[in-house]
């Protein structure tokens, strides 16, 4: 697939990285800074073009005339929208994805039609990150909460601890523990390596477990893995930027929210937008301030400023001062790896959260959702099975009959409103949303082939 990425910022370059390492993609990145592009081209097998991505001439040079997808990820909403419009008007680019930050644009749904501003998919990294953090706060103890089938199915990652009911026992015991709850363990990572779970696998303390369950069953399941934590009540957010503000708005009705912002002017602006949350002016790494605001009683501390180093430090400090759980927004994967096993409970990587929504559009076959996991080595995919039993390689077959590549597992189905946890004898019907877990990302191509209604199989 020929992909055009505009903007080589954090999101842009990580998108280029993820997309270009798939053999089938040809990636071209456009940015105004020649230096950034040179660095990027040294690391990745991509073509780069210097220039403003919205200019027809630059798009032409970048090969927009035969591009399949244009992904506009520059800092400016306006540039992104114009770029999509130019690409569509001049080159009829089939799929146009744009990053739109401003909620004002986002809300004006009518704007994004083919004859006005032809953006097929709007991505707001801030919103995605905010939703992601919200989920983590909703399910305390979870490392990751991913939604499928419009939120009906959840894939949850959690670390097993001593107090989990299932820890030290075989997975098969799950049925006896919670006989009426449907759910399934999708993957287990032990010491950073994935092990294939089956009924005999014994869960150990420290295992990172991904399990799938219907929305209402997640908490029950979680109690099998670790001691159930009390619902989060007190939240402190550091950084009143776009993400911090959104999160505060989303949480302030249900939780006791405090937001720390350094810039008094900005603090004033957000305090006017918030109703119940308290806005504190000051430095998030100021010990006095944190103590004064009873940091030792706080359930969750989220460091969400633009500066990742500051996030790491303020989160570590809060943890030492007694915050129960700390999260930090960290862009660099190497930083995330450094801190996550140690003093910071959860490192939130905006790129990883965002990349999934891009990947869903690059995949062949009818792929609804892709979540990138474990720094891009694993993926959870929601794909729709189409066609009849004759045309498709999945429809009309039992799960055990499907020729899945190694490291891939079908974990759940969404059929209409029903959620079905997949077992070996579950039969897949047409239009089912099939949720898969793939521990070896290199097998993605075989998986894609599986879900394509191929002419060759008629």
């Amino acid at each position: 697939m020929k992909i055009l990425i505009l903007g080589a910022g954090q999101v842009g370059s990580s998108a280029a990285y993820h997309l270009s390492r798939e053999e089938a993609n040809e990636v071209t990145v456009v940015d105004t800074s020649a230096e950034v592009l040179r660095d990027l081209q040294d690391r990745l097998d991509i073509r780069t073009v210097v220039g403003n991505g919205a200019y027809p001439d630059v798009l032409e040079r970048a090969g927009a005339s035969d591009a399949d997808i244009i992904v506009a990820l520059t800092d400016s909403d306006e540039t992104n929208m114009v770029a999509c419009q130019v690409a569509y008007t001049l080159h009829h680019t089939p799929t146009k994805i744009a990053r739109i930050r401003s909620a004002d644009y986002m809300n004006a749904k009518k704007l994004f039609t083919q004859d006005a501003i032809p953006v097929d998919v709007r991505i707001s990294p801030e919103q995605l990150v905010c939703e992601y953090v919200e989920q983590l706060i909703l399910y305390p103890g979870a490392l990751q909460v991913l939604e499928f089938a419009n939120g009906r199915v959840r894939l949850v990652g959690a670390r097993a601890d001593r107090d989990g009911l299932l820890v030290g026992q075989q997975i098969a015991a799950l049925k006896e523990h919670i006989p009426n709850t449907e759910g399934r363990i999708a993957a287990i990572y032990r010491n950073g390596k994935s092990i294939e779970p089956d009924g005999d696998t014994v869960i150990q303390e420290g295992d990172e477990i991904f399990f799938v369950a219907a929305r209402q069953d997640v908490r029950v399941f979680m109690s099998e893995m670790r001691k159930l934590e009390d619902p989060v009540r007190r939240v402190v957010i550091a950084g009143g930027g776009n993400i911090g503000l959104r999160l505060a708005l989303a949480l302030e009705q249900t939780n006791n929210v405090k937001l720390i912002e350094r810039d008094p002017v900005r603090a004033r602006i957000i305090s006017e937008q918030l109703n119940k949350a308290i806005v504190l002016v000051g430095d998030a790494a100021d010990e006095e301030l944190l103590l004064e605001e009873n940091i030792d009683n706080v359930d969750v501390f989220c460091a969400l400023t633009n500066a990742e180093e500051a996030n790491i430090l303020s989160a570590m400090l809060s943890k030492r001062l007694g915050a129960h759980k700390v999260m930090a927004l960290i862009n660099r994967p190497s930083y995330a790896e450094l801190v996550e096993s140690g003093s910071i409970d959860i490192a939130i990587s905006p790129q990883q959260v965002t990349i999934g929504s891009l990947l869903a559009h690059v995949r062949r076959g009818d792929v609804v959702k892709v979540h990138s996991l474990k720094r891009g080595t694993a993926e959870a995919i929601e794909a729709v099975a189409h066609g009849t039993a004759e045309e498709s390689q999945v429809v009309g077959r039992k799960v055990e009959e499907i020729d899945l590549p190694r490291g891939a597992a079908i974990i759940a189905l969404a059929r209409g409103d029903k959620v079905i946890i997949a077992h070996h004898d579950t039969v897949i019907e047409t239009d089912d949303h099939v949720i898969l877990f793939l521990t070896d990302r290199r097998q993605i191509e075989r998986l894609e082939n599986l879900f394509q209604v191929g002419v060759s199989f008629v």
Partner: protein, 483 residues
């Protein structure tokens, strides 16, 4: 330094190269000449060496770093030259010493075209074919070929590609994937080779000669299967076909790629380097033709024109084909042509020399200095076409230029120290460092009479010229090896 990765790629490349020893075996069988055995032996030796190098590290899967790229390219070209010499060394006709074999092989691969052989017409066809084939492989670059056919090179492919392709700006990819870029270049190259072959054939060459000469023409090499080079055919049509393809092969191949991809030719005339290239060729040809006619070197006016044009294009693009012995021409003409070879062809072509674009940039800086004298406070960027050239590139051009001059001076002194006279030494260095081929004085027709130390210097010069000095030189700096 990732030694294992370097070793693995080196082994793979060597095994790939061993396959190129097989076509001469076929040629040998077709023409039933006695030289098939050396090729089979060389094939097995090369394949086996590659296997021995590759096997212990076959599972090494690290990414190639920038430094590794230099190391792979520089060491591969040296190793390649050595293994490429095997068939020459092993064959009985002609009897060749090791240094002569190495010289011939390196001269082929670097598309220099200087030879130590005489009596080419009497040699086995397989040996002749092999020489031409070496030039053809070296022209577009055997590593570029490897990047095209071995997808596993991936990101590292870019490092290799950059270290091998000539020119000051190497970041422009024709397609997003480096493999596709390398493939595209080889397709264009192949297309030229085929059309050139057909052209030669229609103009009266036999198939063997047509293919052989097409190989060395599009590679801007200069090897021939005859002692008299292109002059052997005594055909104006063939001369003109050769002129056309030498000219085309000296153009940046990315221009050809765009012409082929978008079916248009107007972008040629917009490219500043192309325009300068054409301008220089026109000027040099005009001076040579006018001088020849004025001095009446050849009786027929047509001869003055054809020979003048042919030699001007052949030497200025650094091909090195000859129709007549231009070193005997009167006045400044021989030295003028040797000077023209310093300019050479365009960046990203198969030609040698310092490349037109570097000279263009140096010239533009000269013009800028003049403007600055008149307008001391003016801000004047160096521009190519409509866009300003980054300062880094301009700096790099000067760096290249100065190193070129220093290397040239050092080699000139070394050659003279071995006992060559000044004209011979000067032209020998120019002929090798610019990957030209023929020189003046004692090396006008080849290096057979030159002493062995001078041949070694020439071999180093050819390699330096093909890898544009820095890729090779960087290995001899302490900084490169410091961790």
């Amino acid at each position: 330094m990732n030694w294992t990765v370097v070793q693995r790629i080196l082994g793979l490349l060597l095994m790939m190269f061993s396959l190129t020893m097989l076509p001469p075996v076929g040629v040998s069988i077709i023409y039933s000449d006695p030289a098939w055995l050396p090729f089979v032996e060389s094939f097995l030796l090369t394949l086996f060496s590659g296997l021995v190098i590759w096997f212990p590290v076959r599972r090494s899967r690290k990414d190639l770093r920038l430094r590794d790229g230099f190391l792979v390219v520089a060491s591969f070209w040296s190793v390649l030259g050595t293994f490429g010499a095997l068939p020459f060394y092993l064959t009985d006709i002609p009897q060749m010493s090791f240094i002569d074999s190495l010289f011939e092989s390196m001269s082929g691969l670097t598309t220099t075209g200087a030879t130590v052989l005489t009596g080419l017409d009497g040699l086995p066809n397989s040996i002749l074919w092999y020489r031409q084939q070496l030039q053809w492989l070296g022209g577009m670059g055997i590593i570029v070929l490897a990047v095209a056919v071995l997808p596993m090179l991936g990101v590292g492919g870019m490092q290799l590609y950059r270290a091998e392709t000539p020119g000051p700006v190497k970041d422009t990819k024709l397609t997003p994937r480096i493999t596709e870029t390398a493939k595209a270049l080889w397709y264009v190259y192949l297309a030229f080779t085929i059309t050139c072959t057909v052209g030669y054939k229609l103009a009266g060459m036999g198939w063997f000669d047509a293919v052989s000469h097409a190989f060395s023409t599009v590679a801007i090499g200069g090897f021939s299967t005859h002692d008299l080079s292109i002059g052997h055919f005594e055909s104006t049509t063939i001369d003109l076909i050769a002129v056309f393809f030498m000219f085309a092969a000296g153009i940046n191949f990315s221009l050809h790629f765009f012409a082929w991809r978008f079916v248009q030719i107007k972008h040629y005339s917009r490219d500043p380097e192309f325009r300068a290239y054409v301008f220089i060729l026109l000027i040099v040809s005009a001076i040579v033709i006018v001088s020849l006619s004025y001095l009446g070197v050849y009786a027929e006016g047509e001869q003055n024109f054809v020979n003048g044009l042919f030699q001007a294009v052949s030497i200025a693009t650094t091909t090195g084909f000859t129709t007549v012995n231009f070193s005997q021409w009167p006045g400044a003409l021989p030295v003028l042509l040797i000077f023209a070879s310093f300019i050479g062809g365009s960046a990203g072509s198969t030609a040698g020399g310092m490349k037109v674009i570097r000279w263009l940039l140096i010239y533009k800086q000269g013009v800028r200095e003049i403007s600055r004298l008149i307008h001391p406070s003016a801000e004047i960027p160096v521009k190519l076409g409509a866009s300003a050239v980054p300062v880094r590139v301009v700096d790099a051009v000067w760096g290249f230029f100065s190193v070129y001059v220093v290397v040239f001076g050092a080699m000139l002194l070394a050659m003279m120290a071995t006992g060559l006279d000044q004209v011979t030494a000067f032209s020998a260095v120019a002929a090798t460092l610019n990957n030209l081929g023929p020189g003046l004085g004692d090396v006008a027709s080849g290096f057979m009479t030159v002493n062995d130390p001078a041949k070694w210097i020439a071999i180093v010069g050819m390699l330096l010229g093909r890898l544009e000095i820095f890729t090779l030189l960087v290995l001899f700096t302490p900084v490169f090896w410091r961790h």
